[in-house]
């Protein structure tokens, strides 16, 4: 089972079953208040369920942080079309590996979340879109789903409630862009992962042209807790405008990397020092990415006093994102980091729109040349200029995701770019040496 040593500083609402024997089985689930929330929700009116989710201040955990209760309320419940629940388990944002842990250790929690969402919007079928690399998780989920069918937690007339619900897993095949909700729906329909023109939003026209609730794995996983213990209790765990906990992936240069469940508003400093065990080899923090490589990079100075929540990060002109915290110590070459990030976006751009398709590739080429010592001073401005001119102009947010970290790196670490000029070798490069070991 994939999960790290827990930290005493965690608030384990979604992850409290992690580490229990056979935590992924229905028996363990049922023995630990599993499906209690579903029973409760089955006795409630759809509006009441949505109300509880609204009260919980749950915001989407996929990266954009959209209020979940509000999203559910956009579904035209009286539409004659079937409605669908879609789970975004594409988890591809660099630095993010939390959905994996949630599905591996507690698949029934996700199933229960889907059932409750189904009750809330009158949907009777759901699809879990799992990235192709997570093949073993498809098997984990399929097994849990099969168990749920067998014991009457999925299928027709679930536990005598009269509610029918079918749930399927669906494999992706390697494409970051398919994490973007509308591209995901295209992919689910057997097409290229090209985003759709919006509006209409998935809540109105989603999977198979029908109203659809589309949320991240973690978002659905929070729902059973909300219904079980009440939205207010969940809200109380977080900060005023965002309730609950956040599965946080500590990655990069920390001593104790891992996925930790921390309440929203958890201080960054404490997170790095105490949860993460401090920066490796006693080094100092240079740069901090709060939630996956799409977020603007913050300097050590900027994160002083910051907390892990939407507002604190927004004040610092970054984003809470997906929970993929990337910690970079003073020995990190920021040019190389910028290059690697841009290489990723250039590789993952779907190719639909010009600024993203051509911009990411151009930037990748400049940064490659630059890191290899072939840069000129005007390139530094060009990198910033091109990024700035991609921002807000692309068809989907991938273009922004590529531009934001790059722009923040050239702006905040310009000196490091200058250090690479005139054919100088990268000042941080120590060929062949591994620090990991």
């Amino acid at each position: 089972m994939l999960y790290n040593e827990p930290s005493p500083l965690e608030t384990r609402v979604l992850s409290f079953r992690f580490g229990l024997p056979n935590s992924a089985t229905l028996d363990t689930y049922l023995a630990t208040r599993g499906y209690e929330a579903f029973r409760k929700a089955a006795g409630m009116k759809p509006e009441e369920i949505i109300e509880q989710v609204k009260i919980s201040n749950l915001r989407g955990r996929g990266g954009a942080g959209f209020p979940t209760g509000m999203k559910w309320s956009f579904v035209p419940r009286t539409s004659p079309k079937p409605k669908y629940i879609v789970v975004n388990a594409d988890e591809s944002e660099p630095g993010t590996c939390k959905d994996r842990v949630l599905m591996e250790n507690d698949p029934h929690q996700l199933i229960e979340g889907c059932l409750i969402a189904g009750l809330a919007v009158d949907a009777h079928a759901g699809y879990i879109y799992i990235r192709g690399e997570y093949r073993y998780l498809i098997e984990v989920m399929d097994k849990a789903i099969a168990e749920a069918y067998e014991k009457g937690w999925l299928g027709k007339n679930i536990q005598g409630t009269g509610f029918d619900f079918d749930l399927y897993t669906h494999s992706g095949a390697g494409a970051y862009e398919c994490g973007e909700e509308s591209a995901l729906l295209e992919s689910l329909e057997g097409k290229r992962g090209i985003p759709r023109i919006r509006p209409p939003f998935p809540a109105v026209v989603g999977a198979f042209q029908c109203p659809t609730v589309l949320n991240n794995v973690e978002t659905y996983c929070a729902v059973p807790a909300i219904l079980r213990d009440g939205g207010a209790a969940f809200a109380a765990l977080g900060v005023p405008k965002a309730g609950g906990t956040k599965m946080t992936c500590l990655t990069g240069h920390v001593n104790k990397p891992g996925v930790y469940e921390l309440r929203l508003g958890f201080p960054v400093k404490q997170m790095i020092e105490e949860v993460g065990g401090g920066i490796r080899q006693g080094r100092k923090l240079k740069a901090f990415i709060p939630g996956g490589s799409s977020c603007p990079v913050l300097t050590a100075k900027e994160v002083e006093g910051a907390t892990m929540d939407y507002d604190s990060m927004a004040q610092r002109k970054s984003m809470l994102g997906s929970g993929g915290v990337i910690i970079m110590d003073e020995e990190t070459c920021m040019v190389k980091a910028a290059l690697r990030i841009m290489r990723f976006y250039a590789h993952e751009s779907c190719g639909w729109c010009i600024p993203c398709r051509e911009g990411t590739t151009w930037l990748r080429k400049i940064l490659t040349r630059f890191h290899a010592g072939g840069g000129t001073r005007s390139d530094i401005d060009l990198i910033g200029d091109l990024s700035r001119n991609m921002l807000g102009r692309t068809f989907c947010p991938l273009g922004d995701a590529a531009a934001m970290p790059t722009l923040s790196i050239v702006e905040k670490f310009r000196g490091e770019f200058e250090d690479h000029l005139n054919g100088k070798p990268c000042p941080f490069e120590r060929a062949g040496e591994m620090v990991t070991a």
Partner: protein, 689 residues
């Protein structure tokens, strides 16, 4: 009419119907918002980002191509931010675009070139290496140069949506994304070339046109395609008396931008090496080249002699020649040769339809009706193969207006993909199938019924009865094969009182048979297989030494549709003008040939001047339904005729068994098709046969 939405664009007050896109609303107000991927009538993409505009109260710039107008909306299209976005988009586009405008076919009519000129990014800061990939040949007519492609996906959409073929797709992703053909390295499709026309840059180029000339070095002449009966307008690019390309990029005419392979490329028969350049006269059993005057004298003298001897003349007219020529030929036959023996190859029973509708008006559907009417019933024909424009119109109607399409055909047809009902019938099963559909058809607000030669004579009357019994407005189209099949009938190339029909003429012992632009000896309805000539004197006017011409005593080389002026009437009875695009050495327009024969015979006075405009004036005066407004056709449009209640009467009426469509597919066109290099070069032509 719903209330108009009021908005402001660049300070101008603009009104537009609800649902109008800002890009179109701006255009109506004379404000051009640049775009590559937006293309009227095709699905929206918002991919190129050229059309970004500022909209008050919106945090980000919006794509004008996807934004519907809203009351009180304030749009700005020329702010510094917008200008900058355009400039950057162009700079991004040019990073991998080869700057080979001087050798690119599109140079001079390239949308990218124009935009860079207008919106900047003259000088690029891109110093990285460009990706080179070799040019690919997708088919004899379609070449693809990937680096020039800007991925606007217009070609993919026109092929998928417009043509219903889906032969082009996009493979790979990101900067590697590339347009790809449906069969590995090559296309198997309609070869219509719409993808080439719609390409804003020089990525898709025409195998026929490439490297021939520059757009500004051509004259552009509006002509009418001389192949099937749909009558598409095609604009011919002409240089040095040669036709270099055909397209309809100005979207004029009944077909808008549509053309099939025949309209776009199959003009090429005109300079086929076997094209007749000089008249031939049979001497000692062999056809020998002679001067025009000798050939005309031979014909005129013989005709006069037969007249003097009281011999019988037979006259067979053409489905390709102009109305003026057909009219003149009929007059010649009836008044000068005094013969009732005149006919042409009928490919559909228009006569029966006209008769069945007598007493009613406004029942003949036009090409436009197929796009505008709420429901269409197709009977028999595989329209996508035989009447590509009509098929295109119906598809567009379905895409844009969700028209209900019913296809009742012997085999699968392209219409099946979106038809509300597709019924397969064996011959003879049509009326049963129609009865099954009756309730559904009755429920339609209106209907266009399109039928081919599966319905003839009494069946046409029965079909009209069926249509009339539905109690909804119904219009009809009787399909005919060739560019002027309809005109041949309307101009009266039909037997007079006691006259022989085509098959009878072939079998009869005539003193002279005069065949103008037809190849009846190749096989004719009622006379299968090749025919040996019976007539004692045979005169043939044609472009090529056809099976019929080979047996002639005199062969007179005729001009093609692109080498003469006049009018033609398409299968829906719409009249359009042909403008002479080129002159040909040796050959003469049929009208001129006939005029000269008349003059040599001393009979010209009776027939009047052989000037197309003069003859047409007479047609307008005397042929029922042809008193059409001139401005309409003189400006390149089409004017529908109203032939009901007064067609040229035909003794005994047509014989249904002699009506037969050739059912030419996309890659065939009767005898003419054999002389088109393009039609013979494409793989599909071979597969289709």
């Amino acid at each position: 009419m719903p209330d108009l939405v009021k908005l402001t664009i660049d300070g101008k007050a603009v009104q537009a119907a609800p649902g109008t896109l800002v890009i179109d609303a701006a255009k109506m107000a004379g404000i051009e918002i640049p775009a590559f991927c937006y293309y009227e009538g095709l699905t929206l993409q918002a991919a190129c980002r050229m059309c970004l505009v500022e909209v008050e109260k919106m945090p980000k710039m919006m794509t004008a191509c996807t934004l519907p107008v809203a009351e009180g909306m304030v749009v700005r299209t020329e702010t510094p931010q917008v200008a900058q976005a355009r400039k950057y988009t162009l700079e991004f586009l040019l990073t991998n675009h080869p700057l080979d405008c001087p050798v690119c076919d599109k140079g001079g009519e390239c949308e990218l070139q124009d935009m860079v000129f207008r919106y900047g990014a003259g000088e690029s800061r891109y110093t990285e290496e460009k990706v080179h990939t070799p040019e690919k040949q997708f088919s004899p007519v379609v070449f693809f140069d990937a680096p020039r492609c800007i991925l606007c996906f217009r070609c993919v959409r026109i092929c998928n949506e417009g043509m219903g073929v889906g032969a082009l797709g996009v493979i790979y992703r990101g900067v590697l994304s590339e347009i790809a053909p449906n069969h590995g390295d090559h296309l198997e499709c309609d070869e219509c070339g719409a993808c080439i026309d719609i390409c804003p840059v020089g990525a898709l180029t025409s195998g026929i046109y490439r490297y021939q000339t520059r757009p500004w070095e051509m004259q552009h002449v509006g002509a009418i395609c001389t192949h099937c009966g749909d009558g598409c307008k095609t604009t011919l690019g002409v240089r040095n008396n040669r036709i270099i390309r055909g397209n309809n990029r100005d979207h004029s005419g009944i077909n808008g931008e549509f053309l099939c392979i025949k309209g776009r490329y199959a003009f090429d028969f005109y300079d086929h090496p076997e094209r007749l350049q000089a008249p031939l006269v049979r001497k000692n059993g062999k056809l020998e080249e002679v001067s025009w005057s000798e050939a005309l004298d031979t014909v005129a003298n013989r005709f006069n002699q037969i007249r003097a001897d009281g011999g019988t003349f037979g006259v067979i007219g053409s489905n390709h020649t102009t109305n003026e020529e057909n009219f003149y030929l009929r007059k010649f036959a009836r008044e000068v040769l005094a013969t009732p023996h005149i006919d042409h190859h009928r490919t559909g029973d228009v006569t029966a339809l006209v008769d069945a509708l007598s007493g009613k008006t406004g029942r003949m559907a036009t090409v436009a009706d197929l796009y505008n009417r709420k429901a269409v019933l197709v009977l028999g024909a595989d329209l996508a193969r035989e009447h590509p424009l009509l098929s295109f119109q119906i598809r567009a109607n379905y895409r844009h207006h969700q028209a209900h399409v019913y296809a009742v055909t012997p085999g699968p047809v392209r219409e099946d993909k979106y038809a509300v009902a597709s019924v397969r019938v064996a011959s003879g099963g049509y009326f049963a199938a129609l009865e099954d559909l009756r309730a559904r058809l009755k429920a339609e607000p209106e209907l266009v019924i399109v039928f081919d030669d599966s319905f003839k004579g009494p069946d046409v009357h029965r079909l009209v009865e069926f249509g009339e019994s539905l109690g909804i407005p119904v219009r009809y189209i009787c399909l005919v094969d060739y560019s002027n099949s309809r005109g041949a009938l309307d101009m009266g190339l039909v037997p007079g009182e006691g006259g022989m029909r085509l098959d009878e003429m072939l079998a009869a012992d005539l003193s002279a048979l005069w065949v103008v632009g037809a190849n009846p000896f190749k096989g004719t309805p009622g006379v299968p297989g090749s025919v040996a000539r019976k007539a004692r004197f045979l005169v043939v006017q044609d472009l090529f030494l056809t099976e019929t011409a080979e047996q002639a005593d005199v062969v007179l080389p005729a001009a093609s549709a692109y080498e003469k002026s006049g009018t033609v009437t398409n299968t829906t009875g719409e009249v359009q003008r042909l403008k002479r695009a080129i002159n040909t050495m040796g050959a003469k327009p049929d009208l001129e040939i006939m005029g000269f024969i008349a003059r040599q015979m001393g009979a010209a006075g009776a027939l009047g001047p052989w000037v197309p405009e003069t003859v047409f004036a007479e047609i307008r005066r005397t042929v029922h339904g042809y008193d059409i407004p001139l401005p309409e056709i003189d400006t390149g449009g089409a004017a529908p005729t109203t032939p009901v209640n007064g067609r040229v009467t035909e003794a005994g009426g047509p014989r249904p068994d002699l009506i037969r469509s050739d059912h030419n597919g996309l890659f065939a066109s009767g005898t003419l098709g054999r002389y088109s290099k393009v039609l013979n070069s494409v793989l599909e032509g071979r597969l289709d046969r």
